[in-house]
């Protein structure tokens, strides 16, 4: 970015100093000046659009460091303008005091070095701009989330900003708040490790109707068959040998809330029948009880089995199958929404920004994790891989970053050069193709831009170019924001746009050949 537009306000009582600085940096920045405290305040009052203030601490013959008070003043009233103290006093205590009050840096006047001073000015300005941008971005995300109105359950964040995940979150929230039928049964399917449990928790946490009530989770295949029925539906004391008291089943524990049945395909025949009975009558019969218990429980079932096949094989009741898939969501595998890997990595590595990844992962590792490895174990596999890699980095190899040797073997030995690009729906459109990202020589920023543009291009195709719908699908505030996003990427990476015909077609005023 050109620094030529940066406006710097010099606050010093020595006119010669103003002249010196203006001259020395005449080709780099734009300067204005204030010779005293009152001049500074008037200047800021009239025009506060400065990118930086250079402040001397002594501004009159009294030799008192009035500059400290000015730091407080600017920090309070103009917090977006960074301050660098430039003074003849280079005692450590003075520097510390200035920084404690909020100055970004401290430059002794007699330690002038053109390159160093320029770098310090730019760092202070751009650091402040990044902070402002991050703050704005965070506010925007918060606003978007507020518009969407969803929240992540503490400890179980449902992570991913791909179009598929955004759509899924919206759908889960809608189901959880569908007042006409608050008991809608939901079936969530997907490969192992995609986050079916997270989706169930998300639904519960975002349900106004059920959030305040229990969320019970049960993994069917973890329960001994002989105890399955009593675990789910309860049992009267003495019904079986170990039932020394009445057993409260998980259904009852989930009353008014949500019961998540994971691996529902593993239910035995008797439990399937009882589940069907509940879904039909809202009543369960604990073992040994004649009288039924009426409950208000929303069932969220999940399986990675193909239930249709199980029905065909006779392992699953067809009536139950139809009953539990009233609302059915398939969570796509991670390889079909690779853009979510970035968010997941940031979460697992406890990072705030994408550009921090390069501080933690070598480029080769980033490429392997983000673009090459297919993640058959999906999110769970990614999480475990990161935990393992961190351990290896810190304890075994003691390297500065997670490098190649730190990542699990199966990820390393995966066939080099394989890459997974589109979703199956898009791949089915024969004339539509985006080159595999690893065939393009892109740096990390370009790769991120490429993935964003790919999502937009795909969405444009899917939504027949209706920009408002595309914005909604991609969770962008408006079609104006969508336009701005494309424009921003085009300014930085015009060469990428040759791959995105839909964007070119739908935004001819932005994606122009002259640029």
């Amino acid at each position: 970015m050109s620094t030529k537009n940066y406006r710097i306000l010099i606050v010093d009582d020595a006119p010669e100093f103003h002249k010196d600085i203006r001259y020395a940096f005449r080709k780099t920045f734009v300067f204005e000046g204030a010779l005293s405290t009152s001049a500074l305040k008037k200047k800021l009052n009239d025009d506060d659009k400065f990118d930086l203030i250079l402040l001397d601490l002594v501004l009159d013959k009294s030799k008192e460091k009035v500059g400290f008070g000015l730091i407080d003043f600017v920090v309070e009233h103009y917090p977006e303008i960074p301050i660098i103290v430039v003074t003849a006093d280079h005692k450590i205590a003075t520097a510390v005091e200035a920084m404690k009050r909020g100055a970004k840096n401290f430059l002794p006047k007699d330690n002038y070095d053109h390159n160093y001073w320029k770098k310090t000015f730019v760092e202070a300005i751009e650091g402040q701009k990044n902070k402002k941008e991050n703050k704005a971005l965070r506010a925007e995300i918060k606003e978007i989330k507020a518009q969407m109105g969803y929240r992540n359950p503490p400890g179980y964040p449902f992570i991913g900003n791909s179009p598929q995940m955004n759509l899924l979150r919206r759908s889960l929230k809608n189901v959880g708040n569908y007042e006409e039928d608050p008991d809608l049964t939901v079936l969530i399917t997907g490969e192992t490790g995609v986050g079916k449990g997270m989706a169930a928790r998300f639904l519960h946490f975002n349900s106004e109707l059920r959030r305040e009530h229990p969320f019970e989770e049960i993994h069917i295949s973890n329960i001994t068959e002989s105890l399955l029925e009593s675990t789910l539906f309860g049992a009267k004391k003495g019904t079986y040998t170990d039932a020394k008291e009445d057993v409260i089943g998980r259904f009852q524990l989930a009353d008014k809330g949500v019961l998540f049945l994971d691996e529902v395909g593993d239910l035995n025949a008797r439990s399937q029948l009882k589940l069907l009975e509940f879904l039909n009558n809202k009543t369960i019969h604990p073992l040994g009880m004649i009288k039924g218990v009426v409950l208000d429980v929303q069932i969220v079932a999940a399986t990675n089995k193909n239930l249709e096949e199980e029905v065909k094989k006779g392992n699953f009741r067809i009536d139950l199958y139809h009953r539990i898939k009233v609302v059915h969501y398939e969570i796509p595998p991670l390889r079909e929404r690779r853009e979510d890997i970035v968010d997941l990595l940031l979460h697992f590595l406890r990072l705030d920004r994408v550009n921090q990844l390069q501080d933690v992962l070598t480029e080769k590792v980033q490429r392997r994790l983000l673009y090459e490895y297919p993640w058959p174990g999906n999110v769970r596999e990614l999480e475990n891989a990161i935990s393992s890699a961190r351990f290896q980095q810190k304890m075994t190899y003691k390297t500065e970053k997670i490098d190649w040797q730190c990542i699990p073997r199966e990820i390393r030995i995966h066939e080099e050069g394989s890459v997974y690009v589109g979703s199956s729906a898009i791949d089915a459109i024969p004339e539509y193709s985006i080159p595999a990202i690893n065939t393009l020589d892109l740096n990390f920023a370009e790769q991120n831009a490429f993935n964003t543009l790919k999502s937009i291009d795909q969405a444009l195709l899917r939504m027949n170019g209706v920009k408002k719908d595309v914005a909604e699908m991609l969770n962008i505030k408006s079609s104006d924001s969508l336009r701005y996003l494309i424009k921003k990427h085009f300014e930085k990476h015009p060469h990428l746009f040759t791959h995105f015909s839909e964007i070119k077609k739908r935004f001819p005023n932005i994606v122009t050949d002259e640029n």
């Binding site: 010669e16 002249k19 010196d20 001259y23 020395a24 080709k27 003849a88 002794p108 006047k109 007699d110 002038y112 070095d113 053109h114 390159n115």
Partner: protein, 249 residues
């Protein structure tokens, strides 16, 4: 064990020499360049110098604190010994010498008795801070910054030396500042002669002498700027002035 003393030519050493010799001390005049271990140092004050009597105890004490912290620092004079000032020899009351030596310790946490002469500590502060005008270091830092800007501008912006000189008004500003520095040094430098840090003083003197022709020429010669290594020498001069400052701050 070694006892060193200052001034080297004082006869007053004869007052205390027998005491210390009888206790096995070798007695030698102080020499900054002699790095031999000194167990005890005695400063006879006030120091007669430049037709005055100079009180320079605090500066000498700082020197020893910094460079020879294990030496027992004593002052000696004709003021009556005050029990508050342990490490002082009253030359008119030598029977106390045993007690003085018994209590004397190396260490930082005390201020020598004021011997009543011209306060060199205050004088050097005046040299550095000026008389209400700019301090030497402030003047110097401006001078150095301006010439550094000339140098950087020539190297980074393709400006010629003459253009940068003109734009920064070097002739008007720098020459004046150099003159202030030079004359102030000339006035105060002699007083440094009774202090132990000769090497700093000699360094300041020699740099000023070396660079004088450049400033006398109003800084106009780019060739002199380079050949006399003006910037590196000025930085070294700055370092020496800062070392002096550390003795009085």
């Amino acid at each position: 064990m070694t006892l060193s003393y200052y001034p080297a030519n004082t006869n007053l050493i004869k007052c205390i020499a027998p005491f210390f010799r009888s206790r096995g001390f070798e007695i030698i005049p102080f020499n900054e360049d002699n790095k031999q271990v000194i167990d005890v140092f005695v400063l006879f004050c006030p120091v007669p110098y430049l037709n005055s009597f100079i009180s320079c105890e605090r500066l000498w004490k700082r020197y020893f604190d910094r460079h020879r912290p294990k030496t027992i620092f004593l002052t000696a004079g004709f003021l009556p010994r005050d029990k508050e000032f342990r490490q002082y020899i009253d030359l008119l009351s030598m029977e106390d010498l045993d007690e003085v030596m018994e209590e004397a310790r190396p260490g930082k946490s005390w201020i020598p008795i004021d011997s009543g002469g011209l306060d060199l500590f205050a004088l050097i502060n005046r040299f550095l801070d000026g008389h209400g005008e700019e301090s030497v270091l402030a003047v110097f830092s401006d001078l150095l910054r301006i010439l550094q800007m000339v140098h950087d501008d020539v190297n980074h912006s393709g400006t010629t030396y003459e253009e940068a000189l003109e734009a920064l008004q070097v002739r008007e500003r720098v020459v004046k500042k150099w003159a202030l520095l030079k004359y102030r040094w000339a006035y105060y430098a002699p007083y440094f002669g009774c202090l132990p840090f000769h090497s700093i003083v000699a360094n300041i003197d020699s740099i000023i002498h070396l660079l004088n022709p450049f400033f006398a020429n109003h800084c106009e010669s780019a060739k002199q700027f380079k050949e006399l290594a003006v910037l590196p020498n000025l930085k070294e001069l700055k370092q020496s002035l800062q070392e002096v400052r550390e003795y009085v701050h």
